[in-house]
């Protein structure tokens, strides 16, 4: 899967699940998701569960706290795919 596809997929998922009223252009690659209050611990679990299912990867516990932005999440998935 291409990086751009992963990026688009995850961005859409976050917008649908957690920011339903937000125009897509407002969610930038560097928008802080966890430290910015968009994702709490349950939301993070939802994201991780979705990532594992959608991209057929397995994340470690410490990686759940590794990403704070969309760009970092995409990089994490890419790293798992590599």
């Amino acid at each position: 899967m291409r990086e751009q596809d992963i990026h688009n997929h995850l961005k859409q998922f976050i917008l649908d699940e957690f920011l339903p009223d937000t125009p897509p252009e407002e969610l930038e690659d560097s928008t802080p998701l966890r430290s910015g209050g968009v994702l709490d611990s349950i939301a993070t679990i939802k994201v991780v569960a979705h990532v594992e299912q959608a991209f057929n990867v397995s994340l470690d516990a410490h990686e759940m706290g590794e990403f704070d932005t969309l760009a970092q999440l995409v990089a994490l998935v890419m790293e798992k795919h590599a």
């Binding site: 430290s35 910015g36 679990i45």
Partner: protein, 860 residues
């Protein structure tokens, strides 16, 4: 070894000189207010940091970036050396080096964990006294615990997954955080956040946030003191809905002390470029249990999320997301419960874990965390099943809805009520007592219901108004205030508090206002009964009586010399100085005993009195007074010849002062109340053939004697001997199996009767022997401002019993409390105050002698 941290843009670390000067002024003002208000004087906070912090901040902020972390670490090490002195500090530094070094050993991760567990267990055994160690070692253990008990686990966790070394100065700075040696109850700073946020914003913004948070912390402390003095009734005084609501609210609000402490600590760290996130986010405004968990002690939540929640989830995710989330949440609350006990062990110099020592506390503690956990699990279950409330990344116009605002206010209000209930459970000595207190809500008067409904309505109204203002862009509580607003807040609040404190010190504010100012400065102005109340886990950890806190204070000589023995070790602590009496008094001083009282020598005469040895037979021509009372009259903390009884006796016997020689026999015994003193007057006083008894009372006898009766009758099993007392036990349904608080509540309706009985007993014992009973009113140092009210409450009782009343006018000469008391930790009058009391006693006796109708006279 480079001091240049990772990820830090050099331009973020600079701040312009005018801006730095402004920050310095705010910091100095904040530290001055903290000093005047004696914030955290429990650990001598302002003594350690009044100069160190502003100076350290100034030097640090002008240093090149690569020198700042080394400077910060060395500053902390310097503080450690000052606190513990070189030898003990070296022990601490070596132990710290070993613990950090083990994390880096080139052995498998599990082996490093095993070695650390062995080391921690050994240290724990030293702390608990299971392994003998010198004082130098024992004194550093709470500091080691405070530094490593949680942060070492986070460090090790991150080290396992570290991709790039942050440099040794960053590693050392993470452990050697400047406030930590003084504050052992410390927010669990996350290692990764610590690295990531170092100068991640312009320095000026981080520093401004730091000063603001320190000011907020100081303000929280002041609020806490007001709540603790004016809104914290003991459970025994909760008799209906009104007091119950106050009790519940205060149970929650005393957490202000914790939030104040954490704001102070993190604010200080911000001043050195560590742009750490907030530790609490308006937790009183939480609208659900998950929301609450995300707002209160956020660092703890992050610790649990990283080390328990995510790892457990990943291990059990095969159960499905919902099952795994619920199990992970349960694990988090179980770990939180256990780790609070673990924290108590390391933090307390006596290594105690009170919740594991008392079944009542254990069940209340377990139930609190259990209920809290289940509620968060329920909340999580629904959060997983529903779409979250829409959030927006940017501010956008949303139409105002009063109904939605009211709904949110109701949600917050309901959450507040639930948390008050839960916190009151956590702070209760047992579940049974908590239920008993709640059971009194049923007895509500119509006016109480109306006031409660009005308060709830007002709260909801304010909630809606706050949201309306926020909607209009006038947010009263912004999460990220502008720098200008922060400056204004710091200068305004700290300036006002400093002015009030200074004015009160110089001129003493009048009446109740003065008492409130005393309370703001950390003095306990509550009635005696309430002062004995200790509430909850954090209050237990933050006690000034803890050995580590005492060590911190003792580094400053002005306190040390007067601070050797504190309240719980009331004199004489040595059991050999006491003997059992076999009656209601339970115990009294032994004859010819010797010892110390708050650092000054103490001894009794051949009759077991702290006085010169008078013959039992009164010499001819002498007027003899037997002085009866408790620790004030005994002269706690002052030399024998300097107590007010001796000063008075000297004045009375100055040439030409009185019509005849006067002797005063001091029969006072520390901690005695009107109950034991009734026996003193009946059994001890007559042996000395006095003409008069001066019973020195403080106007708080009702509360003291009720509490003491419960203690004597049920805990000490003192011989009651009198049918009235035995019947009182029956009538009030006092029961040793009940807690003291519950017994006190049961005794409350009979407290007046008990006091009347004791005074009548005293007066009768005097009259039967031809002795004149005089009730001398001397307010305590802390209640001098309330003396009129206290006198008015007890005077009718003693006059009805047959006492003549002598009021010592203005015994403390209106001096500020801190000039009157023995030391900041003991509110008994100091030596110079005893001199004042003695002279005022003499002057009052001379003025009021006609009313007293004694058989000697004093010349004008």
């Amino acid at each position: 070894m480079s001091g240049q941290p990772l990820h830090t843009p050099a331009d973020h670390s600079r701040v312009r000189l005018p801006s730095l000067a402004g920050l310095f002024v705010q910091l100095v003002l904040t530290m001055a207010a903290i000093h005047v208000l004696a914030i955290e004087d429990r650990v001598a906070f302002s003594s350690y940091f009044s100069f160190l912090l502003p100076l350290g901040f100034l030097i640090h902020s002008v240093l090149p970036l690569r020198f700042r972390l080394p400077f910060f670490v060395l500053l902390t090490i310097g503080l450690i050396v000052f606190i513990f002195k070189l030898a003990a500090a070296l022990y601490l530094l070596v132990a710290a080096g070993i613990l950090i070094g083990v994390c880096h050993l080139p052995v498998p991760f599990a082996a490093r964990v095993a070695i650390l567990v062995v080391l921690a267990t050994t240290l724990g055994a030293v702390h608990a006294g299971a392994i003998d160690a010198s004082n130098r070692v024992r004194v550093i253990v709470p500091a080691l615990g405070a530094i490593f008990m949680f942060r070492l686990a986070l460090y090790l966790f991150e080290l396992k997954h570290e991709k790039q070394s942050p440099g040794w100065w960053t590693r050392l700075a993470y452990f050697f955080l400047l406030p930590n040696p003084v504050f052992t109850l410390f927010p669990v700073v996350d290692y990764k956040t610590f690295q990531r946020t170092y100068y991640n914003q312009p320095a000026g913004e981080i520093y401004q946030k730091g000063v603001l948070w320190m000011a907020r912390g100081a303000f929280h402390f002041v609020l806490y003191r007001l709540v603790s003095n004016y809104l914290s009734p003991p459970a025994s005084e909760v008799s209906s809905l009104g007091p119950l609501l106050v009790f519940l609210i205060s149970s929650y609000l005393i957490y202000l002390r914790m939030s104040g402490l954490f704001h102070l600590v993190v604010g200080m760290l911000c001043l050195f470029g560590f742009n750490l996130p907030e530790t609490h986010r308006f937790y009183l405004l939480a609208s659900g249990f998950n929301d609450y968990w995300q707002r209160i002690n956020i660092y703890w939540k992050d610790l649990m999320t990283k080390l328990v929640y995510y790892p457990v989830f990943m291990r059990v995710k095969r159960l499905g997301t919902t099952g795994a989330v619920l199990l992970s949440t349960a694990a988090v609350f179980f770990a939180t419960w256990i780790l609070h006990a673990y924290q108590s062990f390391w933090m307390r110099a006596d290594a105690r874990v009170p919740m594991f020592e008392d079944w009542g506390l254990f069940t209340a503690d377990a139930l609190f965390w259990g209920i809290f956990g289940v509620l968060v699990m329920i909340n999580s279950y629904f959060a997983l099943r529903s779409k979250p409330a829409p959030k927006s990344l940017k501010k956008r116009e949303v139409p105002w809805s009063t109904r939605a605002a009211l709904g949110r206010a109701v949600q917050i209000g309901a959450m507040l009520v639930l948390m008050c209930l839960l916190w009151s459970l956590w702070q209760s000595p047992s579940v049974g007592e908590w239920l008993a207190v709640l059971g009194r809500a049923g007895t509500a008067s119509r006016s109480e219901v109306l006031v409660a409904a009005g308060a709830a309505g007002l709260g909801l109204g304010l909630g809606v108004l706050g949201q309306f203002l926020r909607h209009r862009g006038l947010d009263p509580l912004p999460e990220h205030p502008s720098r200008a607003r922060s400056r204004f807040t710091v200068l305004g609040t700290m300036g006002a508090l400093l002015l009030i404190g200074l004015w009160h010190r110089q001129h003493r504010l009048p009446g109740r206002l003065g008492e409130v100012a005393d309370a703001m400065q950390g003095l306990d102005v509550r009635p005696e009964a309430q002062m004995l109340v200790e509430r909850g886990y954090y209050e237990g950890l933050l006690t000034p009586l803890d050995g580590y806190a005492r060590h911190l204070r003792e580094r400053f000589g002005t306190i040390r010399t007067r601070d050797k023995i504190e309240r719980p070790e009331d004199f004489p602590k040595d059991a050999e100085a006491w003997k059992r009496t076999g009656d209601l008094r339970y115990r009294t001083y032994k004859p010819n005993a010797e010892g110390w009282t708050v650092g000054v020598p103490w001894q009794t005469n051949e009759w077991g009195q702290r006085d010169q040895a008078y013959t039992k037979e009164k010499p001819a021509g002498v007027y003899r007074i037997a002085m009866v009372g408790a620790s004030y009259t005994m002269g706690r903390g002052v030399r024998g010849e300097k107590d007010f009884e001796s000063v008075l006796e000297d004045r009375l016997n100055e040439p030409g002062a009185a019509s005849q020689p006067i002797e005063i026999v001091n029969c006072a015994v520390t901690s005695y109340t009107v109950l034991e003193n009734a026996l003193v007057i009946e059994r001890v006083v007559p042996e000395f053939q006095p003409d008069a008894v001066f019973y020195v009372a403080h106007g708080i006898e009702r509360a003291r004697c009720a509490r003491q009766f419960v203690r004597l009758a049920l805990r000490l099993q003192a011989e009651l001997n009198y049918e009235f007392l035995k019947s009182l036990v029956r009538r009030a349904r006092l029961d040793a199996r009940q807690s003291d608080e519950e017994n006190l509540r049961r005794l409350e309706p009979y407290a007046d009767e008990l006091m009347q009985w004791a005074y009548a007993f005293m007066a009768t014992a005097c009259r039967d022997r031809g002795i004149t009973p005089v009730w001398v009113f001397l307010p305590t140092t802390e209640r001098a401002a309330r003396a009129d009210g206290d006198l008015a409450a007890e005077r009718p009782v003693v006059e009805a019993a047959g006492f003549k009343v002598l009021v010592i006018d203005n015994p403390y000469l209106g001096k500020p409390l801190e000039q009157v008391v023995l030391n900041p930790w003991d509110s008994h009058p100091g030596e110079s105050s005893h001199g004042d009391i003695g002279r005022q006693f003499f002057a009052s006796l001379r003025r009021q002698q006609d009313a007293l109708q004694l058989t000697f006279s004093l010349n004008p």
